[in-house]
């Protein structure tokens, strides 16, 4: 259908971005020396949700599919790996590898129903299926632990210390982000962007729109599964709340906060969201009220997010930059 020849993702990334990314990487590697202790745990949490938000934005920002059920694949990745360790007695590496494919398969099954639908139907259906998965996680006590959560998900050395787990997370998330960036810049990613702008025209060009949307949905589900995977071993367990609609909504908040039209948008959005999430509750118990006001203001006043706000002044918008 299209050729991959002559495609080099690194050549497409501008030098400026590459330098910036390298700088961030050095900084991230050095975090443990500056800030050991509790901040390291914060950093792990932030990294996990960066991956979650970027995987969601492959759908939202790139393909124009507003999924309101991304938490489901995060939770399936988490619970799958967790159950394999706790109940089936697998060791961490194998369980870790099993989580994302299962999440991707679940996304495939749900995607079969959803991808042909237009905006509003797609939102309702992704939300409905996610709530169904949440109900299963919540009510199927024998397998998932129900309300008590899934406890005792053991890690193994050298990942059982905060420092070891930080590096595992950093390396995994970095690899996933590079892959997601390459995907967003590949011919496939360009077709996704074209689908967002004008699906009918893409169809006229002889490209199967539904199949590409399904592929995007499965890929996003896979990477959400990786994030869930990292989450379950980080917390040594999982609880039903992660499959909740609120987790899906948080993902969307991260995307809009950072800027859905930029690859770096959800990265910035996830960092800002997580910082607010840990700072605001120290001042008020009404964190959702504050979040709602921030979200409303972002939607009405800054719909291109923080990155769009900063970047938009310097360069004209060229989609994912």
């Amino acid at each position: 259908m299209y050729s991959l020849r002559g495609w080099n993702p690194l050549a497409e990334a501008s030098r400026r971005w590459f330098t910036l990314a390298a700088g961030v990487a050095v900084l991230a590697l050095a975090v443990p020396w500056f800030q050991p202790g509790p901040y390291l745990l914060y950093a792990i949490d932030i990294l996990i949700f960066i991956l979650f938000a970027v995987s969601l934005n492959l759908l939202v920002g790139q393909t124009g599919m507003v999924s309101f059920g991304h938490a489901a694949y995060f939770a399936i990745g988490a619970y799958c790996a967790g159950i394999l360790v706790v109940t089936a007695g697998w060791s961490m590496p194998w369980a870790f590898l099993a989580g994302p494919p299962v999440a991707a398969f679940a996304a495939f099954l749900v995607g079969l129903f959803c991808v042909r639908l237009t905006h509003a139907y797609f939102i309702m259906l992704t939300l409905a299926f996610a709530e169904l998965i949440h109900a299963v996680v919540w009510k199927w006590r024998e397998v998932t632990g129900g309300d008590d959560g899934l406890l005792g998900v053991q890690t193994m050395p050298p990942f059982d210390t905060p420092l070891g787990y930080y590096y595992l997370t950093l390396v995994s998330v970095t690899i996933c982000l590079i892959l997601l960036y390459s995907i967003s810049r590949s011919p496939f990613g360009r077709i996704c962007r074209a689908i967002k702008d004008n699906p009918r025209r893409v169809e006229f060009m002889g490209i199967n729109v539904a199949r590409h949307k399904l592929m995007a949905f499965v890929i996003a589900g896979f990477f959400a599964g990786v994030a869930g995977d990292l989450f379950v071993f980080f917390n040594r367990g999982a609880f039903q709340g992660i499959a909740n609609w609120l987790t899906s909504a948080q993902g969307l908040v991260m995307v809009i906060l950072g800027g859905p039209n930029y690859f770096a948008g959800p990265v910035v959005g996830a960092i800002v969201f997580k910082l607010l999430d840990s700072a605001v509750p120290k001042f008020t118990e009404y964190w959702l009220l504050v979040l709602g006001l921030i979200l409303g203001a972002t939607v009405l006043l800054m719909p291109n997010g923080i990155v769009g706000f900063l970047w938009g002044r310097r360069a004209s918008r060229d989609g994912h930059g």
Binding site: V60, V66, F68, F113, R116, L117, T118, H119, A120, Y121, I123, M124, L125, L127, A128, F129, E131, L132, A135, K139, W245, A249, L252, V253, V255, I256, P260, Y286, W287, L288, L289, L291, G292, L293, L295, G296, T298, V299, L300, P303
Partner: protein, 291 residues
């Protein structure tokens, strides 16, 4: 046999609530193309307001009726404010922005409800005039159920009359079909949108107050309601009022009898039905295919 009659009646009661809730959702979507995820929040808010009203007027024999009349109106007034100040700015914009603005409403109103009413469950009493029970085929039902079903039927008929017999209804149906054309004909779109949103939230409020004596009013009741409402309008067809009626009854029965088969997972049947409908008719049983 007894359980069948029992489940039929309770299915019809839940169908009534579902219809009131989902018809508002589908009306707003049909006209403004906004998927109001905060619809359940207005439903929940009406329940809390009804609780407070019945507390304030605790000595009056008509306290429930006062709540039933006033709470949906208060919710509708609030909705009017929300429409004029916020929603109006995002009509025709990106779906992501529309959805997240309604999510922002869920967050803000959810926390405000927690601020005013706290986390405990609230119970709204049955109206004293309808305290007793009637027996049908040897089974006994609260008389109150007839009020729920009667109100749903009355409002359904009123909506049918308004939509198909009045000038306002013609405009509204025209706007559902082709918004650009209606505004080109000089119809004031903004007023139409405001009225539809206010009426829709009034309907959510009616559903909330009528449901409140049969369940505890509590935080977190909004999202399950919205998801069931989505299921109803997906099956019925987005923007279709007859579809909402038919689908609400269908869903009521699927829920009512699903509980008999797997008590924990009645939701599964609702989703199974939705999945089947989507495979056969992706635009809903009584909707029209887009494009």
């Amino acid at each position: 046999m007894d359980t069948v009659v029992l489940q039929m009646v309770s299915s019809l009661v839940s169908a009534s609530i579902l219809f009131l809730f989902a018809s508002g959702l589908t009306l707003v979507f049909g006209v403004t193309r906004i998927l109001n995820i905060a619809h359940g929040t207005f439903y929940m808010l009406a329940g809390f307001i009804a609780f407070t009203l019945t507390q304030v007027t605790a000595n009056s024999p008509f306290k429930f009726w006062i709540a039933l009349a006033a709470a949906p109106l208060l919710v509708a007034a609030l909705a009017g404010l929300v429409e004029v100040l916020l929603l109006r700015r995002i009509y025709g914009r990106d779906v992501l922005l529309q959805v997240l603005l309604t999510v922002a409403l869920i967050f803000v109103f959810g926390d405000l409800i927690r601020l005013f009413w706290g986390l405990t469950q609230k119970n709204v009493p049955f109206p004293v005039q309808l305290m007793g029970s009637i027996s049908l085929d040897g089974m006994r039902f609260p008389i109150y159920y007839t009020l729920v079903m009667g109100t749903a039927v009355a409002i359904g008929l009123a909506m049918w009359y308004a939509l198909y017999m009045t000038r306002w209804g013609i405009l509204l149906r025209a706007a559902t079909q082709d918004r650009e054309m209606t505004s080109a004909l000089g119809i004031d779109e903004r007023r139409l949108f405001s009225v539809v949103f206010v009426v829709s939230c009034w309907l959510a409020g009616m559903a909330g107050v009528l449901a409140s004596p049969t369940l505890s009013v509590a935080l977190g009741m909004d999202m399950p309601a919205v998801i069931e409402g989505f299921a109803v309008i997906v099956v019925g067809g987005l923007g279709s009022l007859p579809g909402a009626v038919f689908s609400a009854v269908l869903m009521g029965f699927v829920k009512g009898f699903g509980i008999l088969v797997i008590p924990q997972f009645a939701l599964v049947f609702v989703f199974a039905l939705m999945a089947v409908v989507l495979i056969i008719r992706p635009w809903g049983l009584m909707g029209k295919p887009e494009g």
